[in-house]
Symmetry: C2
């Protein structure tokens, strides 16, 4: 099947007006979304590889996918390795796609890509590199994978246009009117005549609206265009429903709806209008993560004699929503109490089932977990596809259990559960790893080293404004000390009832290029791990909020502070995830006093917070389980 698809694509490449020596298929949709709609799953269709990140390149006789360490194992399971080559992009010896193209194609080659699926930030350096090597990067307006699908009678699914909902002020803490006011103040400072918002979560955040066009991500296909006096939403639904219009009006926003597919034409018109005003030069502010296609349209490139000036940089909406307001933070803390309750109930249930010899598959476990979450107030659905991996499957970093090859969770298994919920007041993302009976010594040792790294981040203090990457090795140290490591970052940002992966900050050995430096009020994950391919996987993940720390703060290091980094200010984390780690997985002799106290104090907080809720609901078996799990380690 993969060969047939490749052959169809190659025929289109050869038939392109400028015959294409290579065609690039990024994962991204037109909004640079990390998770995409089936309508945009082009790389998946052509390669068979379903991971959330990766870029395919097809030439006349090669087909390759660049992806990162989370997906090496998965790629080798999913792709047809007779046709497809894995390029391990985390490894220093792997050539970049750019390097590969310039070394493997001959001078004069033309490389094609759909300009909607590549950001300008990616486009420009690639174009420069290819041009240096006497090659050409061309924008192929109609997507060739979509065309290949049609040619094989397997057209891409229709783009969704589901209903949108308004999220009231009690959840968002800030009206859409205030948010747009702040953006317009920024436009004045930048002397920008318009601001184009292209990322789906940024549109949703700005308007205090949510949708369901992409699974797990409460967003809707749209672009938002702000001028000093207009707000235009290019939306798959077209006209704005009356109730939404009323809600926005109550929040001080008068909005105009236009069809989603009008966006390129609409932006081109804007460029022409601004250019024709004859009152001097106009600039448009746009995210550097907007697509090459949008950049071209809104600057009037190739249409206007003097294209408009673009201020293309990290989106101001990305920088605004990165720092959560007090209402959002309080929502995050509250939904983590409810989410923790559900996850604890699930684990109590799972242990009971496995102990009783019942045959629970990974998929059934994930389904049951969903039921527990559904019991909780304001639950809107999972925040990503549940990773429910027993034994060797736990070593697949982004594993998805399948009903086609059911795997029963046995008493001999290490079981890794990475899951999360969307709640109206926040988003959760938690991983716990539990042994279903007795962990081996190696499992205990590696679990404890992962935990030590997780505590090192959870208890870290650091100066205001440092970038998240400087924290990464604190989490790896205890694994590095014995020659072990994990092939993924340590933490990512999390949106507020929005995408579970949110930029531009994060904690990784690889610096996040647009991290503005850590500030109070951010939400990040803290998730070191260890994976033994074919045997077991361990990951421990909490969400944490960045807090300011002085001698009076509730923080394990607050009392010891001797300074505030010469006035820069001290940041630390407050862990908001509330589920105990398995006591018998922890090798206490590897912990120092600080770490032991830290765990016991965390477990006490979990019990003190969740215990009364379980009791109030009469869930006495769950309470008894939690009490045992939270009892102090010595």
């Amino acid at each position: 099947m993969s060969l047939q698809r490749l052959t169809a694509l190659r025929a289109l490449m050869a038939g392109h007006p400028t015959a294409l020596a290579a065609y690039i298929i990024p994962t991204a949709d037109a909004h640079n979304s990390e998770y995409i709609s089936p309508a945009d799953a082009r790389r998946e269709w052509i390669s068979g590889f379903t991971g959330s990140a990766g870029t395919a390149v097809v030439t006349a006789n090669k087909a390759l996918v660049w992806t990162d360490g989370r997906y090496y194992t998965q790629f080798e399971k999913e792709a047809d390795l007779a046709m497809w080559t894995l390029m391990k992009q985390s490894l220093p010896e792997t050539p970049t796609m750019e390097k590969w193209l310039t070394s493997n194609l001959i001078a004069g080659s033309v490389v094609g890509v759909d300009p909607h699926t590549m950001t300008r930030e990616e486009w420009t350096p690639l174009q420069t590199a290819l041009s240096k090597a006497k090659m050409q990067l061309v924008a192929v307006e109609s997507n060739l994978v979509d065309k290949a699908r049609i040619s094989l009678d397997d057209p891409p699914p229709k783009r969704p246009q589901n209903d949108i909902i308004h999220l009231p002020l009690e959840y968002t803490g800030k009206t859409a009117g205030e948010k747009i006011h702040d953006l317009r103040v920024g436009m004045l400072e930048k002397k920008a005549s318009a601001l184009v918002i292209t990322a789906l979560d940024e549109v949703a955040y700005t308007l205090n609206l949510r949708g369901s066009d992409i699974r797990y991500n409460p967003v809707f296909f749209s672009y938002l265009l702000l001028t000093p006096d207009t707000v235009t939403l290019f939306w798959s639904g077209g006209r704005i429903p009356d109730d939404i219009e009323r809600n926005l009006s109550d929040e001080g926003v008068k909005i105009v709806g236009r069809p989603y597919d009008d966006v390129i034409g609409g932006l081109s018109n804007l460029a022409r209008e601004l250019s024709n005003m004859g009152d001097g030069e106009h600039s448009v502010w746009i995210s550097n993560e907007a697509s090459e296609a949008v950049h071209r349209a809104v600057s009037g490139e190739g249409v206007l004699k003097n294209p408009l000036n673009l201020i293309s940089e990290v989106s101001p909406v990305a920088l605004a929503k990165l720092v959560k307001n007090d209402v959002e933070l309080e929502g995050f803390r509250k939904c983590h109490i409810r989410d923790g309750t559900a996850v604890c109930r699930f684990f109590r249930w799972l242990h009971q089932e496995v102990d009783s010899g019942n045959k629970i598959t990974e998929v059934e476990a994930a389904e049951r977990l969903l039921e527990f979450r559904k019991d909780e107030k304001d639950f809107m659905g999972p925040s990503f596809e549940t990773i429910s991996g027993a034994g060797e499957n736990g070593a697949v970093i982004h594993y998805t259990p399948s009903s086609d090859s059911p795997r029963i969770i046995t008493a001999d298994d290490v079981y890794l559960l990475d899951s999360g919920g969307q709640y109206k007041d926040g988003t959760t993302d938690i991983t716990r790893t539990r042994h279903m009976s007795e962990p081996t010594d190696l499992q205990k040792e590696t679990f404890t080293r992962v935990l030590k790294g997780q505590i090192a981040i959870g208890a870290a203090l650091y100066p205001v404004g440092v970038k998240g990457n400087v924290l990464d090795s604190l989490a790896r140290k205890y694994l590095w000390d014995v020659g072990l490591d994990y092939a993924h970052g340590t933490g990512h940002g999390v949106g507020h009832f929005l995408n579970v992966h949110e930029g531009p900050s994060g904690i990784s050995w690889r610096p996040y290029p647009h991290d503005p430096g850590l500030k109070m009020g951010q939400i990040l994950s803290n998730e070191p791990g260890y994976y033994r391919v074919g045997e077991f996987g361990i990951r421990i993940e909490d969400l944490v909020e960045t807090i300011s720390v002085t001698n009076d703060t509730t923080h394990p290091r607050a009392k010891d502070l001797l300074g505030d980094y010469n006035g820069r200010g001290v940041l630390g984390f407050n862990t908001i995830t509330l589920v105990p780690n398995q006591r018998k997985f922890i090798k206490t002799e590897l912990l120092d006093d600080f770490e032991l106290k830290y765990i016991n104090s965390y477990h006490k907080r979990v019990l003190d917070t969740l215990g009364p809720i379980l009791k109030n609901r009469g869930l006495m078996e769950d309470y008894a389980w939690l009490e045992k799990e939270c009892s102090p380690l010595m």
Copy 2:
């Protein structure tokens, strides 16, 4: 005086054919040297600020210097603050020079700079940013500061052209012929018709020659041009002396000497010749750290119709000399034994003098240290200006003691000594901080936290190929834990009987942009610190070599290894500096068992290595002191 100089410069700026709204004065000479000859000390002359790093910008009514945290205190002491503004470039709130220029000058402004004093890597983004803001960056061929000096009858000193020496194979481990052969293999792979080497230490390394044109740096003013069959040295001495020619010939190199000032003409001619050969396109390989002026000359920009293609990237010589060969490494280890002997003898002497109530100044201490080093074989001079700082002066990170304001080292002082030697077999750089009587509790606490960070680096294990920046926070952690930090990086590369600061690797919170990833055989410093302005400064600095670690290696973590990072390989450090840290400065209750064992084992190694040497020389008082200093901590 500063006003008169600024006025002279401003007159020249105004009189420039395109009147200059701003003139930039980088620290660098034409070779992007970090330490420069007085002939090139233009920023120092105009601003009064003598630090080793910083860039001055002069406009009609402003004068600013951007410099980093090492120099904040020094700048405020040296520059006339009525005229000069300090821009603290390590702080996130400080605008970059580029940002400052584009926000403070009006559209249409022309900014000038001497293209010899700016690398193309700096030039291009600055030019782009200015051009976006409708400003222009112009190359001012004659340096305006030099002209201002002449106009004030204070001409710049003559460029030195001291003798050069040949460093025999027993020190270098690799002939110049082999080094050039390797570079030519690289040229073939890159399809480069020529390679231009512009950094002074790279020329010295390639030819196994050393000079003394820049104080503390055994280099000589020169450029090296390689083609497949010629080796041309543009050297301030012009014709190559017969003995050097013979030495090089013995190492398989036939070299042609040409005058230093011919380089721009020579490179332009090369460009013309290659372009006229009519056998297709030619490329020239050049370091991205070569000056804008050299880039222009060798590409034939503005002269040839089709300028040559430049392969401008990290210099292959920089990448080659980064990894020391076995002879160089053995030399490093050996000279550190001799250097350690000298430093121990110095501290024994200093304590005796201070204890006896003798009034020793910081300058006298530095002079006496030099005498002890002169007793050691193959000592060629200090590797940088000795930082000999008592009390409050220790808090000035790159302090230079002065005879004009002598400071006596008293029994109440913390005394910081950062010094190093050039030896024919290697370069040393060591800092020790000692209290002259009894440290306070805060001093002990901060010293011990610095030491814990230093041990964390010294004992770290990490995967082959990670960049040095990922290690930085391991050193800061124990200070960060209590709200303290230091405003400099944790480690820099060190040349082999070459520059004491050597790129492109290093350990800092700010990633080294061209760090190729750590490999076995590098030499780095490990030097966390803590500074309390007006009170005292603490720094502990060792040099370490990167070593491969398996279960059989002599390394404190070797036995515990459970893996090799999935085949990537394990790196660690071997500390080669051999001088004890002051026992009474260490608060043992802050150390864990591993750290205590680590220090005791290091001190035992110091005593076992240096003790017999002192005894053999009959230096029994020194031996007794060392034995006491190295006795185990409990």
